[in-house]
Amino acid sequence: MNEQTTRSLLEKNLITEEQFTQIQTYRNLNIFSLHNELKLFLYLSVLLFTGGIGILIYQNIDTIGHVAILSLLLIVTGICFYFCSKNAPGFKKEEVLFPNPLYDYLVLTAVILSCTFVGYLQFQYKPFGSDYGLATLIPTIISFICAYYFDNKSVLTIAITGLAAYIGISVTPQDLVHNKFYDDESLSYSAIILAGLLILYTIYSSRIKLKIHFNIIYLTFALHIISIASINNLVQDYWFFFAIILAGSSFYFYKISYELSSISLYIFMIVYAYIGINIVLFKIFEHIDFSDLWTLFVLLLPAYFVGSIVLFIKLIKKFNKEIA
């Protein structure tokens, strides 16, 4: 079926004869790649294994000796790290890949296990005393080092969540979605400052050309943190200040998403900006007495949505045109 389509591309003179034969030769290899499937297996095995170990430790916390658990964890972690560093291509400023994707998952296992190790150590022996921040910071640092040395994006996300946890906010996706964070105002400020620092770091790292492909992850975190923190505060007292922050960040992400041609940043920026605008509009309308006008309001709603849709279509079209 695909062959026919390729042939009609040829017939319309959209591809050359030479390209057509190349494609035909490739298709005749009859490739059935299990690349993604096997990677998924590796990934699932990491999730299952680390999850199982986690529950195992939690449930047997009083039965097997603590030293036994700790040393077992340390040994497994050590083995994982040993194999990774043996096969690692070494640190480079650009993106580097393991010769075999297997090791990416081994790195992930090692990092998750070492986080578990530190957590367990702190829970049982409190080597950092009541300084729980330090107990969060150490896994974070380990994760950052591993993320940069082994060039692993998944580990980097763990590191960033750790960094956020250190200043007291939870930025795991489910907490962001459930809007769990920023119940109190000072946390919002720290969240916004964290997001600002992440943005500044991306500017710096692209200047010194250090792992530029990580920037998109930093920026994704920054966008969601800053936007959700501001939107949450739009319904509070100092809403005007946060409206300005949201406007500023939206403008920045508008620019940067073009620069990185990242449609996901672009879309989320638009969504957050749209939500923000609607809340501000609502704030303004609150001061007007609508009791007699609400039928008119309902009648105007379809027009408002049509207007928004037209606007969005234009925005998306412009973006697609520019990055094409």
Binding site: H35, S45, L48, F123, T172, I267, P302, F312
Partner: protein, 387 residues
Amino acid sequence: MIAHDKNLLDNLSLIEEANSLQSGGFISKEQNTIIKKSLAGFKRNNNILVRLGFFLLGSFLYVSVCGTFSLLGIDSGQTFWNICFYIFAIVGFVGSNILAKQNYYGHGLDDAFNLGALLNLGIAIGITTDGYEIVIAFFIAIASFLIYLRYIHLPSMLVFCLSAAAVLFFGMFELGATGKTVLPFVAMIFSAGFYFFTKKILNNFSENYYSKGVLLANSFCLVLFYLSCNYMVVRELSVMLLGNEILPIEDIPFAIFFYAFTVIVPILYLVQALKTKDRIMLWLSFLAIAFSIYTIRFYHSVLPVEVALTLGGLVLFTIAYFSIKKLKDKQSGLTFKPDRINNSNAFLNAETLIVASQFGLKPETPSESPMEFGGGDFSGGGSSGSF
């Protein structure tokens, strides 16, 4: 019958082909841009996020239009309530038609109107018939099939499959206890029959606007076939529908058959998928294997869950490790090399997101439950144990 411009549909398949050729590195980006410019296309969003966003906006628009209609009719009370959802459904059908005429296809807006119309039709018939399931399912099936034929709208095809299966189920319920007892076998025979029927259509008319929809129905039959005689589904349904209490020592009739089915079918799928190089069937076989393991563990759990998870992880790792080792250097056929043409890495993009949600570090709150370790939230790890 098809509301869309046929030229554009032809162009669509050409554009999609050109895109996959570009990602395979067979043609350059510039050439692809030229191809896209020379072929007129639909208003369409390939990015799932954009499509979802427009789906939401389209739903808002739909709801607000319906709200306007309600405002006009709200004074007539009960009469309006009886017919309002029919009006809403008509709004949806009109909207879909307008969008199709404007060349929106797979845009998100059209999804909102097509699916919204079906939903409203279902509610409308539900109100008229006082919630008579088989009638609702029957009309939904017809409407979704017509929408599919007219707009080649894939999600409607899925609705059609689901509602057609629902018609079969509710039809068997009408027959009383006998119907409920033989339901698994009837569903199995039906899905097997439709599987071969759709397979035949696919083989005979490969180049057709409807081929994707038929493929979807075909895959749906595979899923239904597996689920129809899965031990857990049968057992739980028989408890639910027939009200049979199954005592610990007893078992359902034909238990051995259902157990054998649960074990053999996924393996059959896997072997067949690798043999025929059928990717959809391969993924379905993975899911079926996972569900079979879950089924058997549910009734005969030998190992505690944490040991099972850890061992499962190790076994899976070993399988993947040796498969990669074996397939790594193969140049053709079954291989570990990424396919240049059909390489969808949607999952790999989602991977970092899953890691962040499963293993993201959370702020320390001392004096909480012992669950909250410093690093790695364990309850998160546990929730991945659906395997």
